[in-house]
């Protein structure tokens, strides 16, 4: 089985995020990036499938956002090939990200495409679902395990409220992973360092039209603290009277 894992780098919240002078984007001067948490689980899911059933695992990441560390770490963990997708700009909409992955995947035939179901910088949808739509492939999201059965995969999918479903999906398919059956494995630093010395990344340029229909950010701002809440006390009648007074004071009712 050929498995492709799509990795997304997202802002690392360990440092305070700052907004740049344009007021519509994050200031990247001090910003660090890290691999999106659910993508880490997608990689773990792929490596578990490889360990248990045999598979060729290719990881792909867009160049912006310090992707090299994540790609070399993936190789150190057991991925067979790591592809750095070049020719794309930072700060892309998820629609453009999905298009870039779609183009890059043309050179990597895949039975199964795994990626995180969400990323903290999702703005105009999630890349996993968008990509499945663009590729016209089946999609299952919010999964917690994937197992091959008779040339298809059986996926455990979570629903809110503690419900889960077992879904059988034909291949090829795109799976939006929430979590792998076990925590992402630890890779010794020595192995990462060795991998950096002995392995190379495959560079794959893509040309994605950034004029795709999308959103325009008019203003980016930090959460504005609300005024301190005022608790109203007394009987129901008293509270109702106070509410009417407050609304009247603010000119909201007459």
């Amino acid at each position: 089985m050929n498995i492709s894992v799509l990795l997304n780098m997202v802002p690392d919240l360990v440092e305070e995020l700052e907004i740049d002078a344009s007021g519509t984007a994050l200031d990247t001067q001090w910003m660090r990036f890290l691999l999106s948490e659910s993508d880490e689980h997608a990689l773990e899911q792929a490596l578990l499938l490889k360990d248990r059933h045999g598979a060729r695992v290719t990881v792909l990441a867009l160049e912006p956002g310090d992707a090299e560390e994540a790609l070399f770490s993936s190789l150190a963990k057991g991925a067979d090939e790591a592809v750095k997708i070049t020719g794309v700009s930072p700060g892309l909409s998820k629609r453009v990200v999905a298009m870039a992955f779609k183009e890059a995947l043309q050179a990597t035939p895949s039975d199964l495409i795994l990626t995180g179901v969400y990323a903290i910088d999702d703005l105009d949808g999630h890349a996993a679902g968008l990509l499945a739509g663009m590729l016209d492939l089946p999609f299952v999201g919010v999964t917690r395990s994937v197992e091959p059965v008779n040339g298809r995969v059986v996926v455990q999918k979570e629903y809110p409220g503690g419900f889960a479903a077992e879904v059988e999906v034909g291949l090829p398919a795109v799976i939006g992973v929430l979590s792998a059956p076990q925590p992402p494995r630890y890779v010794p630093v020595a192995r990462i360092r060795e991998t950096r010395k002995t392995r190379t990344l495959t560079e794959r340029p893509v040309s994605v039209a950034e004029s795709l229909p999308g959103l325009t950010i008019r203003r980016l701002f930090k959460p504005e603290p609300a005024e301190r809440a005022e608790m109203l006390t007394g009987t129901l009648g008293d509270v109702a009277g106070q509410i009417v007074t407050i609304l009247a004071d603010r000119g909201l009712v007459r």
């Binding site: 360990v14 440092e15 076990q182 925590p183 494995r185 630890y186 010794p188 630093v189």
Partner: protein
């Protein structure tokens, strides 16, 4: 009775081979083991281990490594050096056996305890196990009340380069100690500077955790950083950093003139004594941490500092100096509390506070950043909150210099 000659001079030769190699190499180190069982008997967590160090050594030598690295044994070592100190054949059980077992487990892909894994990931990514950003490393200086110069900004040699280390930089309880240290150095007229955002963990707990590559990368980074600046000596607030710089870095041809703050300040006691103007009328008992105590034989300096504070009466615990019980935080123990508590039913800090309470002391004095929060947590969780105050020696010196109202609470 301690048999191992642990605290010899800080030469690389005296401590050669403190870093483990491949399994076939480190196993040979244990050929002289006479299987006496002193290690397992001396280990405060030995009764909870699936295999005591003695059994682990025997099995490793016989090629039965797999069951050992899949047992709880390797996660129950907190690097207290009790086994090493008592081994009649001077085997490096703490420095080599346990890190090598953990290294083997990591390389075998065994699932690591969650907090332990997160701490290693954090150290690799951010240079500190707490997972804090490098830009926040100096935030503690805002509360110091005195200038805390950064060596890269001074652009001149300094007398003393102070390695603040990770917990005093980031942990809210330990930041108070860093602030006290800054005020003491300032009051004593010491020409000092810190590394600021460039500083990264020295890596002692990472080494003892068996993350060889991580430790080596930290050594490379720190050596390049320390070689970049001019200073006469290094002081550190952390006994683990001192342990590594004093004993282990030299074995990797990285030699630095390093002192722990207790040693540095005790040498300047004549100058400090007139500054200790306010009495602290209290019975104080001192907890010997493992790195300064059993590993480096530094028993008098912390006690000299405490005795210099007017009003303090020093009282000893039944288990003191080389017999002191570990707080349980070393060698990765800070990140293994859940595993240890599940296996042993308690943490070593829970046991240690009973020793301190038995002395009738009002204050438990410490000189390691791990210990303040560990002992305070144990006092709370055991229902003894309010019966004993935990203070770093730095906090007591600072209080004596500035008076109770002036010192940090």
């Amino acid at each position: 009775m301690v048999t191992g000659d642990l605290h010899r001079a800080a030469s690389g030769d005296a401590h050669a081979g403190l870093f483990f190699g491949a399994p076939q190499d480190w196993r040979r180190e244990f050929n002289p083991c006479i299987q006496c069982g002193m290690c397992g008997g001396a280990c405060p967590l030995g009764p909870a281990m699936d295999y005591t160090p003695r059994r682990a050594i025997y099995m490793a030598k016989e090629g039965l490594l797999d069951p050992v690295i899949r047992s709880n044994t390797l996660w129950l070592c907190v690097s207290c050096y009790n086994c090493t100190a008592r081994c009649p054949t001077n085997l490096k059980i703490t420095d080599i056996l346990f890190p090598a077992l953990r290294d083997a487990a990591i390389n075998a892909g065994i699932q690591l305890p969650g907090e332990f894994k997160r701490a290693l990931d954090n150290t690799y990514r951010y240079g500190n196990s707490l997972g804090e950003g490098p830009r926040k490393r100096m935030e503690w200086t805002k509360g110091a009340g005195v200038p805390v110069p950064v060596i890269s900004q001074l652009r001149r040699p300094v007398e003393v380069l102070w390695l603040v280390e990770c917990y005093p930089s980031y942990h809210p309880r330990n930041q108070v100690q860093a602030q006290a240290m800054a005020r003491i150095l300032h009051a004593a007229g010491v020409d000092f500077a810190i590394l600021g955002p460039e500083e990264r963990c020295v890596g002692d707990c990472e080494r003892l955790s068996g993350e060889k590559g991580l430790f080596e990368s930290l050594v490379e980074y720190n050596a390049a950083l320390l070689d970049k600046y001019e200073y006469q000596e290094i002081i550190t607030s952390d006994p683990h950093a001192y342990n590594s710089l004093h004993r282990v870095y030299p074995t990797m041809d990285r030699r630095y003139p390093v002192k722990h703050y207790v040693e540095f300040l005790a040498e300047r006691l004549d100058a400090l004594r007139p500054l200790l103007r306010h009495r602290i009328d209290a019975r104080v008992t001192y907890h010997d941490n493992c790195c300064l105590g059993r590993m480096c034989g530094m028993y008098e300096a912390p006690r000299d500092l405490l005795r210099a504070i007017p009003g303090i009466t020093l009282t000893e615990m039944a288990f003191a100096r080389e017999n002191a019980l570990c707080c349980g935080g070393g060698g990765g123990g800070m990140w293994l509390d859940t595993v240890i508590w599940q296996a042993a039913g308690d943490r070593l800090s829970d046991r240690r506070i009973t020793h301190a309470l038995a002395t009738g002391a009002e204050i438990l004095a410490v000189s390691c950043p791990f210990e303040t929060s560990r002992f305070e947590d144990s006092l709370k969780s055991s229902g003894h909150e309010g019966k004993l105050i935990v203070r770093d020696i730095l906090e007591l010196l600072d209080e004596s210099m500035r008076g109770r109202g002036g010192a940090a609470a």
